[in-house]
């Protein structure tokens, strides 16, 4: 059987869309007009004359910039009901279009699962944190004294909703309060500063890096409005310097919170007026926090111990992991694995995060996961991964220590390329150092701490 071949080696970028679309359209129409000769199976070979971008309707493009660079731009049509769509998938819009707009809610009791949020622990694989309807509603209650809102207030979450902090505070709390939420699917500091004023954002949910970027953008003279009432920071320690600079520029302080996926986000927040620098504040409404020794006994003020949390926000457990759940949940108390102390006034200070977890861009990264991957490289004998900060304002960087296999030559580029192919970009090591061996404990465990030697751990908040 003969098929038609169409060669177009001098194409414009729009041809990538227009040629197949025209052929498809004619074939479909042909079936309805019996007189017309049917269009044959068609193969199209195309090369473009100039650089070009074919973009979906929701992709934001700097058209002037494109013109300056000599890049042609073509836009795809919105995939309406009649457009082509990825084979064997269902369109969400179509699913909604055909359905009724009335639905009576399931009568889920408070302890029924609402969400599973995967989080990286100290051991390799992510664990599914089971959060219930009651957990989310308790978090709404817990933040009620920290953020007071009126119907005029508008939330904006720069934190993705797939992150517990974005989901529980940025989305659920805002709707619980009956406030509007401004959505930013593609966050850029520039764009946010512009829209912040237009949409009258008064409550901002973001992570330290983002506050830092907003500051830099504001310093470049980008317009900003003094509409912010509350700024919340979480997911990673916030440098005191950033809080001060932010207040000077935006006229509002940043409330630093402390919480975990396992606690449906915040359990402690530094109060607005009586904030203590370096502290994560006091336990919020309905939450108990205690600093305990290894046996779970409360320690007196200023003694460092493990941070334990109790309250309605504490997860139901880890999905399908009864053993791991039992290890952290006891009598309603959650062992966070974080170390800290409490002062005489009930303010909490976190001195060390869950052992070796790396926090980058607000995400928890398990060194074990990266190490495991590194060790799967045929030329790698062993590897260890640590997080490091060179400057307070900087994000934590991932450093990999690699011991090459006997007689093998390896380069950083090889290692980084290997990771890039197999890991999300934020997990890819920023730096690779080659070693003859790794420091180990008597039981053969790699001592990551020693690898960090020489790097002052700036996440630790020094007591004055």
């Amino acid at each position: 059987m003969e098929w038609r071949l169409i060669c177009n080696t001098e194409a414009g970028v729009a041809d990538l869309l227009a040629l197949p679309a025209a052929v498809a359209e004619a074939r479909i129409a042909g079936r309805y007009i019996l007189a017309q000769r049917s269009v044959p199976e068609t193969i199209i070979l195309q090369r473009v004359k100039r650089k070009g971008i074919l973009a979906g309707a929701e992709v934001v493009i700097d058209k002037e910039g494109a013109q300056r660079k000599g890049i042609e731009v073509a836009t795809q049509p919105r995939g309406g009901r009649r457009g082509a769509r990825p084979a064997e998938t269902i369109s969400l819009q179509e699913l909604m279009l055909k359905a009724k707009d009335k639905f009576s809610s399931a009568d889920s009791p408070p302890d029924e699962l609402a969400a599973l949020i995967y989080t990286s622990g100290t051991t390799g694989n992510p664990k599914g944190v089971m959060l219930t309807h009651g957990n989310f509603l308790a978090e709404c209650e817990a933040t009620s004294e920290i953020i007071t809102t009126t119907e005029e207030d508008r939330f904006a979450s720069l934190v993705p909703f797939f992150h517990i902090y974005g989901l529980a505070i940025g989305l659920v709390v805002s709707l619980f309060r009956g406030c509007g939420t401004v959505l930013f699917p593609q966050y850029s500091p520039r764009q946010f500063l512009k829209r912040m004023g237009q949409e009258k954002v008064s409550i901002l949910i973001a992570i330290p890096t983002q506050y830092h970027h907003l500051l830099l953008a504001a310093k470049k003279g980008l317009i900003h409005h003094r509409c912010l009432k509350y700024c919340i920071s979480g997911a990673a320690p916030l440098p005191v310097k950033v809080i001060q600079a932010f207040k000077e520029t935006f006229g509002v302080g940043i409330l630093e919170g402390y919480g975990l996926t396992e606690t449906t986000a915040a359990v402690a927040v530094n109060p607005h007026e009586e904030a203590k620098p370096g502290s994560v504040g006091k336990a919020v409404k309905g939450i108990q926090i205690k600093i305990a020794d290894d046996h779970g006994n409360a320690l007196p003020p200023n003694k460092v111990g493990e941070v334990l949390v109790k309250g309605e926000v504490v997860m139901k457990g880890y999905y399908n992991l009864p053993q791991e759940t039992q290890e952290v949940l006891n009598d309603g108390w959650l062992r966070t694995g974080d170390l800290g102390y409490q002062d005489e006034e009930g303010y909490f200070y976190i001195t060390e995060r869950k052992k070796d977890i790396i926090i980058k861009g607000g995400f928890n990264i398990s060194p074990a996961e990266i190490e495991e991957l590194l060790c799967s490289h045929p030329k790698v004998k062993e590897a260890a991964v640590v997080g490091q900060k060179e400057k307070e304002d900087r994000e934590e960087a991932i450093k990999a220590f690699v011991v090459p296999a006997e007689g093998e030559e390896l380069t950083s580029a090889e290692i980084i390329g290997y990771c890039r192919m197999r890991l999300a970009s934020y997990k890819v090591p920023d730096e690779v150092e080659f070693r003859q061996n790794l420091p180990k404990s008597a039981t053969g465990k790699v001592l990551r701490k020693e690898l960090r030697q020489g790097y002052k751990d700036l996440r630790v908040i020094e007591r004055e």
Partner: protein
């Protein structure tokens, strides 16, 4: 009170107040509530019921909010996860939670397709969003497209495997001995992508789109004029290779064309004959081209 009821009550209390503000538009609590109901009904019609896990891999769009609350309304369990995740990471989560459906962007479909055979629980890929990006470069990219009747293939799996085989054979003919192809995935050499393809469908047609890299692809210029959402950028900067890099030379246009097209003819059992657009097609072509440039 539960999360499903929460929105119902807010919608009753202040129906007209803006709940979501997105791209200059406001979606009121009443509208939000209705949209959540629509999606809940849609998911229910697919057989999603109480306790089922529904994965959500979306950025902060209204569709994320509909998806999350539709799950709550059904008593299903929402499993939101990072839009930057890649193959193995997505696989782990979808497998561990046993998701029956995943709601994601159109642009993430190839990523999920590649791991789908390992996910027996996953029944539905539900997609939204218009965030695809194709970069075209005069030196580096070659596009092979097809408008083919679905009847040419037994099913979509066969369509993917035959086109995959044809592309592998075509590149091998050029001397790229190490090229390999996995189910519904990309063609790779030592893990790096040298070509990729996907099928779309419209009525009883498959639309095939193959991109193949002839010379090293440099995205720098493109990134300077486009604000790329993280989840897309991550895909774009996926490690690439090209025919020139692998062979140490660039075969002529004619050699490349002949190798790929003859492999296609062999694997699809057909003869390709160069032709032109019909009059009707030409009219349609002009229309589509104008629209693509105007938007």
């Amino acid at each position: 009170m539960n999360l499903g009821r929460l929105l119902e009550e807010r919608a009753k209390k202040h129906p007209k107040r803006a709940a979501l503000l997105y791209e200059g538009k406001a979606i009121s609590f009443e509208e939000l509530n209705k949209n959540v109901n629509r999606l809940a009904n849609g998911l229910k019609d697919l057989g999603i019921s109480r306790g089922d896990r529904v994965a959500i891999m979306l950025p902060n769009t209204p569709e994320f909010v509909y998806s999350f609350f539709a799950c709550q309304r059904l008593g299903a369990v929402a499993v939101p996860f990072n839009t930057m995740y890649k193959g193995g990471e997505i696989l782990y989560i979808l497998k561990d939670c046993g998701a029956k459906a995943v709601i994601t962007l159109n642009s993430a479909v190839p990523l999920i397709n590649e791991i789908r055979p390992e996910l027996p629980h996953l029944q539905y890929i539900i997609t939204t969003g218009e965030r695809n990006i194709t970069f075209a470069d005069p030196d580096s990219t070659l596009f092979l497209q097809g408008v083919l009747s679905k009847a040419v293939f037994r099913d979509l799996d066969e369509a993917y495997s035959r086109i995959g085989d044809a592309m592998v054979q075509g590149l091998r003919k050029l001397g790229l001995k190490e090229v390999w192809y996995k189910h519904r995935g990309s063609l790779r050499i030592r893990g790096r992508k040298i070509a990729g393809f996907y099928f779309s469908e419209i009525e009883d047609l498959y639309i095939l789109n193959v991109i193949c890299f002839l010379t090293p692809f440099d995205p720098t210029d493109f990134f300077s004029v486009i604000w790329v959402p993280p989840e897309v950028k991550d895909k774009v900067i996926e490690p690439l290779t090209s025919i020139q890099e692998e062979l140490g030379k660039r075969p002529t246009d004619e050699e490349i064309k002949r190798a790929i097209l003859s492999a296609l003819e062999e694997k699809l059992g057909t003869k390709l004959k160069e032709g032109a657009l019909t009059r009707d097609e030409k009219l349609g072509y002009e229309k589509h081209k104008a629209l693509a440039k105007r938007r």
